[in-house]
Subunit: 342 residues, 2 copies
Amino acid sequence: MSTRPRASLKDIAAELGVSVATVSNAISGKGRVSEELGERIRATALARGYVPSLTGRALRTGRSGVLGLVLADIANPLFPKIAQAVEAAAATSGYGVLIADSRGDVTEQTQAIRRLMERGADGLIVVPRRGTRVGEIGLPVAVIDTPSTPGNTVSADHWGGGRQVIGHLAGLGHRHFVLIGGSAASNVQNDRISGMRSALPAGARHTLLWAEGPGRAPGAPLGLAALAAGGATAFASVSDLIALRALTELQSAGLAVPEDVSVTGFDDMVWAGVVTPGLTTLHQDMPTIARHAVDELLRMIEHPETASAVPPGGVPMRLVVRQSAAAPRAARTCPTEGAKPT
Amino acid sequence: MSTRPRASLKDIAAELGVSVATVSNAISGKGRVSEELGERIRATALARGYVPSLTGRALRTGRSGVLGLVLADIANPLFPKIAQAVEAAAATSGYGVLIADSRGDVTEQTQAIRRLMERGADGLIVVPRRGTRVGEIGLPVAVIDTPSTPGNTVSADHWGGGRQVIGHLAGLGHRHFVLIGGSAASNVQNDRISGMRSALPAGARHTLLWAEGPGRAPGAPLGLAALAAGGATAFASVSDLIALRALTELQSAGLAVPEDVSVTGFDDMVWAGVVTPGLTTLHQDMPTIARHAVDELLRMIEHPETASAVPPGGVPMRLVVRQSAAAPRAARTCPTEGAKPT
DNA sequence: CATTGCGGGTTAATCGTTTAACCTAGCCGC
DNA sequence: GCGGCTAGGTTAAACGATTAACCCGCAATG
């Protein structure tokens, strides 16, 4: 109780005996107000704990100061990082973030976008469902997907990440690879796979496997032990979730990781650091990506005539070396003290 | 382009030659409008694609139609489910959801709440940082934590979940338990542990372990293999993340799960279903929890005089039986065809 | 001296919606 | 015939901030 309605411009104007317009000018620094009066106004505004009503401002200016974050992929484990980074970036620019989840459904996604528009979002940040494109909606939109997707605004350099991880494995001495994808419909995953392929050393053998491919039951084993028996030593997955699946499947089959086989993931999810052995994976620089996406969106909103300032290509991914990838047995010529780092 | 500003009440009024008030009345069904005119107004509103400006309404009514979701625990893996459920529940009630992440910092949490209030959130849903309480802020607040926390509004029955999992393990024949917590500062985890303890069968032995306890390096091994060597057969964790840590640590040490030891988790995170063996864990009914939280919040906002309608006690958790928990060797008197279920 | 310029404000309109108050016929009852 | 009631509207005043337009006095300038 007694949380009296916040002070408005009118209250302050009344207290000082000046007009609302002057108060508004003094606070925004736009019109012409004498230095002395301006100072007095700002002082009492502070004293009264004045906070501008964003609603009032929104009505007048037609801009709500809110960005919509549209997450299309159901319960995406990357979501916390994205949401956190986007919210932080938006907050430093004075914007709020309204969320909308479409639970993986395309029509639901349209509904979600409509809801955000009705709420007056000034722009949208869309992390699209694998492979789907977001249509024209009459609102500034920033898309976070992968550089090769048409209409993509900013994203990590998934292709380069794929190159890095294979380069790392090849450098350790691996020559027989298994590349494990999730869904072939995902642009991101395809780019990661392409990058991996492009970095395979000459003379290397490799097998490509889709975990959610046709004819494979959702939870069915991937049959990795058999591949290992066939000589494969490096299992590079396009996501940490698949890497985890691979890791535990191999361990359950009695194979030692990384002594017998190496496993790598993608995205540096929360569990990558806690499993044994720690998962070697690629980290996405979400704060930078979100910063770029928000900046780009604000540019479109506030200065539609200017050109994009987002650097082309993706934001580099960073290889996080843990313990799940090591030299294969055959290549163990000069072991570097298998002990864990400090 | 040419996305002309949406039709307003004024436009419709002008088109039909009536006053704005009448249009407003006809659409909201509040004032007195003749059946015939009302029908005509609604028809043209539909034809013109009229969507009420929530900003205008907010300014007039003082309510924004937006709820704030405050997530305090950094990158909480449960976040996607919470956000998704809350957003869905809010959307069906015509509300939007504004997010705020405090990155685990308490002062940052205050800032985040302040930002939400400035944006005119009508109420807040807070998932507090472990153990912290949210102070009085002059806005309706629903807290999702655990039933034993003062000020908690709704949550899962963590205590009952603990009972269930130990009951399940005891039923399988286990008599020597290791209970693994994360942080002793978490109310939720403490309740889960208490529930577990309360369900220990007579004569059972148990050890309590805190993964983030003092004197333990963040990523350091938990030493579970030694406990297993000492006779422990059931490892019950308070979270799937810790269960995953336990599972992989035990597997790396050469122990077979569930043949040698059983492992259970909590929360049914996305990875619980994909690891080998699948993790037996407890599922939170987030949609129901979110529904209760949102309903309660809307009740406080729209009918402050009425009493709470949230059923006391927590929302029951559901045991999800996968393959990580089975009868211990010694108790394998009548094996039920060790094969996996269909 | 008359005009222009400008510093320092004020007035008033506007965004879109809601709602209390008011107005005007028509009709009924007395 | 007239007061009162009602149905069916209209008017107008908010909500809070922004901003174009205007106004006034004083100084400088021709």
